[in-house]
């Protein structure tokens, strides 16, 4: 309990204790092969953001996991979706979740949305040496800005660059396909329901031409993860809602 006071940051606390998660790879080392998360996307609707991700992780040409989760609520008003090396990304999200909660408890107020987005950029930047080895993580971040009263979303690049998107964003192997689908179908003033429908359709569209993106698995009952984020906070949609959306999406696209 007598650790040196690192202010309100949990990451800095871990650092001061030498417990921050690190993966050391020397330049020139052959990068190990590890499962990769593939396609995630987010789009804005009239009063919030919807975020969705397929469930597949791949290792080379193999399916490593069929039911991996890539969309994570990070606090009451925000969520992160991840693409890239799954193990590194999941650890990053876990640290980010604790960081937001820790700050909120220590300071008595939540970070601003901009503050959260900027901290996530710092975490991504910290993984740059690993990214050079081919084990990069590229998240998407979305949240409801309590001060401005609107949903906002940010995409990142592998060096920690942060870009606010006005309409939609996507990252991962199927991102280009998902984005071209969204570009032709997105419109302003979508309702929450329409936005969820569109998000699932875009994932299905990506899965048609990208083998690393898992389409809905109707036989096993594996459906995309979808969350809504608006003034009521983050709400995860259950399979009872996403299942029918996914079936319709498969029918309409085939």
């Amino acid at each position: 309990m007598n650790a040196p006071a690192p202010g309100a940051s949990f990451t800095d606390l871990l650092h001061s204790l030498g417990a921050r998660p690190t993966w050391v790879a020397q330049p020139g080392d052959k990068a190990p092969s590890a499962p990769e998360g593939t396609t995630v996307l987010a789009l804005r609707y009239n009063n919030g953001v919807v975020m969705a991700g397929d469930r597949r992780a791949t290792e080379g040409n193999l399916v490593a996991h069929r039911r991996i989760r890539k969309v994570y609520p990070t606090d009451r008003y925000s969520a992160v979706a991840i693409a890239g090396t799954a193990g590194v990304a999941i650890e990053m999200v876990k640290l980010f979740q604790v960081e937001l909660e820790h700050y909120e408890k220590i300071e008595g107020v939540r970070l601003s949305l901009e503050g959260k987005a900027s901290f996530l950029a710092r975490l991504v930047r910290g993984q740059l040496p690993l990214a050079i080895q081919g084990l990069g993580v590229v998240p998407l971040f979305a949240g409801f800005d309590e001060r401005e009263g609107r949903g906002r979303l940010y995409s990142y690049d592998v060096v920690g660059g942060r870009y606010e998107e006005t309409d939609f964003g996507s990252t991962g192997s199927g991102a280009r396909l998902a984005k071209s689908y969204l570009r032709t179908t997105y419109r302003e003033d979508l309702t929450a329901e329409d936005a969820a429908d569109l998000a699932v359709k875009a994932l299905v569209a990506a899965s048609q031409d990208d083998t690393a993106t898992g389409g809905p698995d109707l036989l096993r009952g594996i459906f995309p993860n979808v969350v809504h984020i608006d003034s009521d906070g983050v709400r995860e949609l259950g399979d009872d809602v996403v299942g029918p959306l996914a079936e319709q999406a498969v029918e309409s696209i085939l």
Binding site: M1, N2, A3, A5, F10, L13, L14, L17, A19, K94, L95, V98, E101, H102, K105, I106, G108
Partner: protein, 222 residues
């Protein structure tokens, strides 16, 4: 002038204890009591900016009385320890018991080692998963740890408050009833009306984070 080169340990401990008790007696008290759906923490606090009651973890809350900077140091240390444990192991591995013993250790060492003891008393509350069995721990300035049942009071008026709670508390109070009991207990102990409430609950029906601050005006209006 002669320099005393020996002070009996009894004398030293007595002096420090008296000093700490005086400091604590100057501040206002806080109480914690079980109600049907969780634990209510209630304190008299005219400030709406400076909090004495705070969230520590999913099912754990902290309250401190005495010197603000001292219990604030303990509060932050508690949150750090809880978040660290939960991050390194699992969220289920963070318990009020673990935190209470850590506070007890810290306060005990400070009391013996430092020239000036902390003038604080802290309360750690935890609601159980099913909302049936709650834990209330009280740690005093010298690190003594008490495991309380159903209700607890810390601060200068803790004895009078505990006595009044013993008369008024009963099993299965609603939240509103628990607040009324708390307010009446304060009225009896202080002999006057409160200058403002700070209140929060650990609400067992919420998940995963059960801590919630309440607006006292919702309770005092009726």
């Amino acid at each position: 002038m002669t320099i005393p080169f020996y002070v009996a340990p009894e004398q030293l401990v007595r002096d420090k204890a008296e000093f700490a008790r005086k400091g604590i007696a100057r501040g206002r008290s806080i109480l914690g009591l079980d109600y049907a759906g969780g634990v209510l923490l209630l304190g008299e606090n005219p400030s709406t900016a400076l909090h004495k009651i705070s969230e520590v973890y999913d099912r754990i809350a902290f309250a401190g009385v005495g010197r603000y900077n001292e219990f604030e140091t303990l509060r932050k240390a508690g949150i750090r320890q809880a978040d660290l444990m939960g991050y390194l192991y699992s969220r289920d591995d963070v318990t009020a018991m673990g935190l209470a013993t850590a506070f007890s250790q810290t306060l005990g060492v400070i009391f013996i080692r430092d020239p000036k003891p902390f003038e604080v008393e802290v309360l750690i509350a935890e609601v159980s998963e099913d909302g049936s069995e709650h834990r209330l721990f009280r740690v005093t300035y010298d690190g003594t740890l008490f495991d309380e049942r159903n209700f607890v009071a810390i601060g200068g008026k803790s004895e009078q408050l505990t006595a009044a709670l013993g008369e008024l508390w009963r099993e299965g109070l609603t939240l509103k009833e628990a607040f009324d009991v708390g307010a009446e207990v304060f009225r009896r102990a202080e002999g006057r009306e409160s200058e403002g409430w700070e209140m929060a609950v650990l609400d067992a029906t919420m998940s995963p984070r059960t801590f919630r601050r309440l607006d006292p005006s919702e309770f005092t209006a009726s």
